[in-house]
């Protein structure tokens, strides 16, 4: 411990707790909440009804049961501007932060009529004029006006994207911890690389390592690609919901690796505040490599976020200070295979900073 640590390092676990070197989660949640309520005012939204995993985490801070895959929209969190309260679908208070009271919880139901009845009791929701949602289904599109509120159901996306796009220092620290966990997973997988090992076994090593570090749900199980001439390892990790990841490739063709690294450097260098997605396209094209057929970059935060730059999309996307991006370079050579490199990049006022660090595989 030291009074004002100059090198805070990245800690997880009990010794880090004593050092106070971990994230100040109460402050993290308070800052997110402030952004949500000011965003609702700016976008003239009286309430939010949210179902996306990242959005629910962003507004509530609750620890949600990790599950893979995407479910259709359902209102898991409700935010009311007038009362400044966040309501959560949770039958118990374990994993729910203290600023969400027991009165603010509503039951898990299998019967949509019961869910609607609970929602209708949320103070301030019935009389809302404009309610932002992050999706709909035909069922909820009729159930909400009939049983919950006559408000206009509008897109909460622009408001939430604006709030989530740039990260607070606490959020960045979470991404740094996730980076360290992803690097630890890459080291473990690299250590297990040997002739005869299968991609399933490497995925097993990956799972074991991230789980033992306290981050058991992976952003993706697509962490290992094996071809006759190459191995790509691409682990990610989620810490308190925040995602980081990296990828490295081992191949006999060192020229291919150099080309991949060169293109990666060019892409990262283009992650400057004030630039747009078009600058990443230009940087890529200037390297002389063909269309990779994969994203060049996408946002990171509570999981994968917009913007998506690549695959013909995202030329207009603004690169701003405080954004975190997953940037990747994929180059392939006919008959030899390909090389993938991926890193987690923070956009700072002076330019990009790599949050993931790892040499060659």
């Amino acid at each position: 411990m030291s009074p004002a640590p100059r090198d805070r390092g990245v800690f997880i676990g009990m010794m880090g707790l004593e050092d106070g070197a971990r994230v100040d989660f109460a402050r993290l949640r308070a800052e997110r909440r402030a952004k949500v309520f000011s965003g609702m005012a700016a976008h003239d939204l009286d309430a939010l009804m949210l179902g996306g995993v990242g959005n629910v985490k962003y507004v509530s801070g609750a620890r949600q049961l990790g599950r893979s895959g995407v479910l259709p929209f359902a209102p898991v969190a409700v935010v009311v501007r007038e009362t400044e309260r966040v309501h959560l679908l949770s039958t118990w208070d374990e994993g729910v932060p203290p600023e969400i009271g027991r009165d603010d919880l509503y039951r898990m139901s299998w019967n949509p009529a019961n869910l609607a009845a609970d929602l209708a009791k949320i103070p301030g929701l019935r009389d809302a004029r404009r309610v932002g949602t992050d999706g709909l289904t035909p069922m909820f599109a009729s159930l909400i006006p009939e049983r919950v509120t006559k408000a206009d159901l509008v897109d909460a996306g622009p408001m939430l994207t604006a709030a989530r796009r740039t990260k607070t220092p606490d959020e960045i620290l979470c991404v740094e911890v996730a980076s360290a966990i992803a690097e630890a997973a890459l080291s473990a997988m690299k250590g297990a690389l040997a002739p005869g090992i299968t991609d399933r076994e490497l995925l097993a090593v990956y799972h074991e390592r991230i789980a033992s570090l306290g981050a058991p749900m992976p952003p993706s199980e697509d962490v290992c690609t094996v071809t006759p001439s190459s191995v790509t390892l691409a682990p990610g990790a989620l810490y308190a919901g925040y995602e980081a990841g990296l990828a490295r490739t081992r191949t006999a063709d060192s020229e291919l690796v150099s080309r991949c690294e060169g293109a990666m450097d060019a892409l990262v260098a283009a992650c400057h505040p004030g630039n747009t997605g078009a600058d990443l396209y230009r940087a890529w094209e200037a390297t002389g490599n063909g269309d990779p057929g994969l994203p060049l970059a996408h946002g990171l935060g509570l999981g994968a976020e917009p913007p998506l730059i690549g695959l013909g999309r995202g030329r207009d996307a603004a690169i701003e200070e405080g954004m975190v991006l997953s940037v990747q370079s994929w180059v392939a050579s006919e008959g030899i295979g390909g090389c993938l490199q991926r890193d987690t990049v923070l956009v700072e006022s002076g330019g990009p900073r790599l949050l993931t660090r790892y040499g060659r595989l």
Binding site: R63, V70, F73, T91, R209, P216, E221, D222, L302, R313
Partner: protein, 385 residues
Amino acid sequence: MRRERFERLQRQLEAQGIDGLVLLGSSSVGYATGAAAPAQDGDRAALFRQVAVVVKGDSAPHLYTPFADGVPAELPEDHLHGPLFPDLDDGIDAFAKELTEHFGSRARVGVDDQTHAMLRGLPGFEWVDVSDVVGAAKLTKTPDEIACIRNAQRLNELAMTDALAALRPGVRQIDLSAVFLRRVFELGASANGIDPIWQVMAPTRELGPWTLHGDLAYPTVTTDRFLREGDVIWVDSGITWQGYASDYGRTWTTGVSPNAKQQAHFRRWRTVVDAALDVLKPGVSALELGRTAIEANDGVRPWIEHFYLAHGVGTDSAEMPLIGTDLGEGFDERLIMQPGMVLVLEPVIWEDGYAGYRSEDIVAVTDTSWVKLSGSTYEPYGVEV
């Protein structure tokens, strides 16, 4: 299996007068197409999702996917397409153009999820909920589907023997996750579906987490909590194989063998499940099964208020038939058991002051009775010293 599932969807489209389906949810896309995709966390699974379009009368589904490796071999080339990004406005016109090629402007189209970009940018079809179509198709399983569930369950159970062997005082919940997940992928699991649960059950409801209904909290999320001598833990995990979910539920004790009271909880659990299984066959209603279970537990409902006596399992970890939920008695009375239904029976025995017992037995309903899909060992319970 893929062909038979597709035929079931087509039969439901025909029966319900719907012109087609647009599917975005991971499990329903998997059901309609058989396309494999890596397991991904919710928001990543949304941004990089697969989309399936089923047109009434067509011979195969259309698949729009970023995961070329997971495409079933038999999918015709003209039904395989590059990815759509339904969550983004950028490119939604491409999605709209595809749909106008599949459907006329006045079509009645089922959809499972609608992003705002879709609500703004897609044609104004008569959009209807897919749950009746997909739910009806999924309600009973083909023999191949049941074989997939059985295999997923076998892998899950095998990996759990390693996790149970690792359980001792001082092990953390996440350490058990590490052992389990490593082993289950070595054994060949396709994907993990859910963060494994190792919940420590307090001896009374009062000492457990506060709940809205006053009943037990379950399942709570795994942390780096230490497991200590005597802790009773309720284990739950679900991995998938070829798109089909398993569901493992058992009660374990930490560092000690179950005592006489705990063994009695287990015997009562077995009694309740056996009573339900004794009446289970085609034609029996969900309500009768629930009542039988309650009677076997001396009139006390043997499941947690927010759950059920039993749920189905398939490409979703919990799907119809649901027995004993807040859908109500009228629903349960109309829900009649049919051959090919799969039930995960998970009653809970609770004795306030002494915690309780919970396990899960998976059975498939046959033409005359049922067949068990899950294993029949309940260590560390069931073996009297």
